[in-house]
């Protein structure tokens, strides 16, 4: 019960952050991938910077073991990062979603199409089941390495983790500041001017505030003995559900506190985003000219397909945008660097390719998104 509560609270807090910074918004994510609205990029870099500094400080002070905040390192899995990263990148570039934001978007009831969030969640679960079928063949074909090693950047450099993590954290804070200076950020005007701290909390959060809180949550998740990543959480929630139905999955053979914590993490994202949406100030456009949601079968199908591919890719390659990037890069794992590097290259290629092929009109997406909090 304690594991469930802690996991759900952490997930809910992260769901609030994802919703309030706008990471659930199609226009924001597509803006990041095409470098035309870099708010989410700055948010992620800040979170990596803050988490790295906290891990580095704990290690430098010699309290990391006692506090349970020695970072978990994802092993290097060879070609699996390329295959998984490519699949994940295609899903991300098409849908603008990742596993965590699928759930947060459904919780926040974002977007102009009905049941798209629900279809994405169904797609995530379908991806887990597909992974269950494909895992053994991928291991036999040695796409997923059987001899997995926890390779790290500080290990390669032969330096103490604390020193590299502190420098790494400062570097990412600097990069976020430089990106802020050099690139654009789209602003969505609120329905009324914000006055007082309550209005600041109820409006869309800045990348600095949201990134700092996200970095802190990554650190606090470690202190609970957990890990803030949603591909493992997907596996856990599917495995737990199958176990409760009396049909345990081979890929999740037993249910322990760790599995329950992870399952609760992704379950908690939904009410967190739901609460954030309920308490948020709407945009001026949404208040003045609200757009009713429509049923669009093609959008539902696209959402389901993209989420399935994304979920499979995250499980094959070892993580998602949270688990292989925001929470993983502070651990200095080379596997996570390879996975996230691959999926960002692929997703940026897909998003920019769509723009060139005129299947993505960012200006139109931003205008539509302003009316419905996409």
């Amino acid at each position: 019960m304690r594991a469930f509560l802690l996991g759900a609270l952490t997930g809910a807090a992260f769901g609030v952050v994802l919703y309030k910074v706008g990471a659930t918004r199609y226009s924001r994510v597509m803006g990041m991938l095409t470098l035309r609205d870099t708010k989410i990029m700055k948010f992620a870099f800040t979170a990596i910077g803050v988490a790295s500094l906290l891990y580095g400080l704990a290690a430098a002070a010699g309290v990391a073991e006692a506090w349970g905040v020695v970072p978990r390192v994802m092993p290097y899995m060879g070609a699996a990062h390329l295959l998984g990263g490519a699949l994940f990148g295609i899903g991300l570039g098409v849908s603008g979603l990742c596993p965590g934001t699928c759930v947060a978007k459904a919780g926040g009831r974002g977007g102009s199409k009905k049941f798209v969030g629900t279809a994405a969640i169904a797609g995530l679960l379908a991806g887990v089941l597909l992974y269950g079928v494909l895992k053994d063949p991928l291991l036999q074909a040695e796409v997923i390495a059987t001899n997995q090693k926890p390779l790290t950047l500080h290990g390669v450099l032969g330096l103490p983790y604390a020193a590299v993590a502190l420098a790494w954290g400062a570097l990412f804070v600097l990069i976020a500041l430089a990106v802020d200076r050099l690139t654009k950020e789209k602003t969505y005007e609120p329905a009324r001017p914000r006055s007082g701290w309550l209005d600041v909390v109820r409006g869309e959060w800045s990348w600095v505030a949201a990134g700092t809180i996200a970095g802190l949550l990554v650190f606090l998740a470690s202190a609970q003995g957990g890990y803030l990543g949603f591909s493992g959480a997907l596996l856990a929630v599917t495995g737990w559900g199958a176990h409760l139905l009396g049909h345990p999955l081979e890929i999740v053979p037993r249910i322990n506190d760790d599995i329950v914590w992870r399952a609760a993490l992704i379950i908690g994202v939904f009410p967190g985003a739901l609460l954030a949406a309920a308490l948020s100030i709407r945009s001026r456009a949404a208040a003045e000219a609200p757009v009713p949601k429509v049923l669009d079968g093609a959008a539902i199908g696209r959402s389901f397909g993209a989420a399935t591919v994304m979920s499979l890719g995250a499980l094959v390659g070892g993580g998602c945008t949270t688990g292989a990037f925001i929470a993983a890069w502070p651990t200095l794992s080379l596997g996570s660097l390879a996975m996230a590097g691959t999926f960002f290259v692929v997703s940026m290629a897909v998003a920019n390719g769509r723009m060139l092929a005129r299947s993505l009109d960012l200006g139109a997406a931003q205008a539509a998104g302003d009316h419905v909090y996409d």
Binding site: T46, G49, L53, L54, G56, L57, A59, A60, A61, G62, A64, V70, R72, V73, M74, P75, M77, A80, G84, Y131, L138, L139, I144, A145, T146, P150, T152, H154, P160, Y161, A162, A163, L166, G169, A170, V173, L177, D180, S206, V208, A209, T212, Y227, G229, S231, G232, L235, A236, G239, I251, V252, N256, D257, D258, I259, L315, G318, G323, T331, L332
Partner: protein, 46 residues
Amino acid sequence: MKTQVRILVLLTIVALGAGWAALRSGNAVLESRLASSGAPGPGARP
């Protein structure tokens, strides 16, 4: 927003300073570890 950025920069400098001082005192944990318990599969997060 500018205030938030200044606070972040200040905290980063404080963290670097504190980290440097702690490293000089020789307390650093040199390695991170691979978690083993409960990992539900090779493709999943440990």
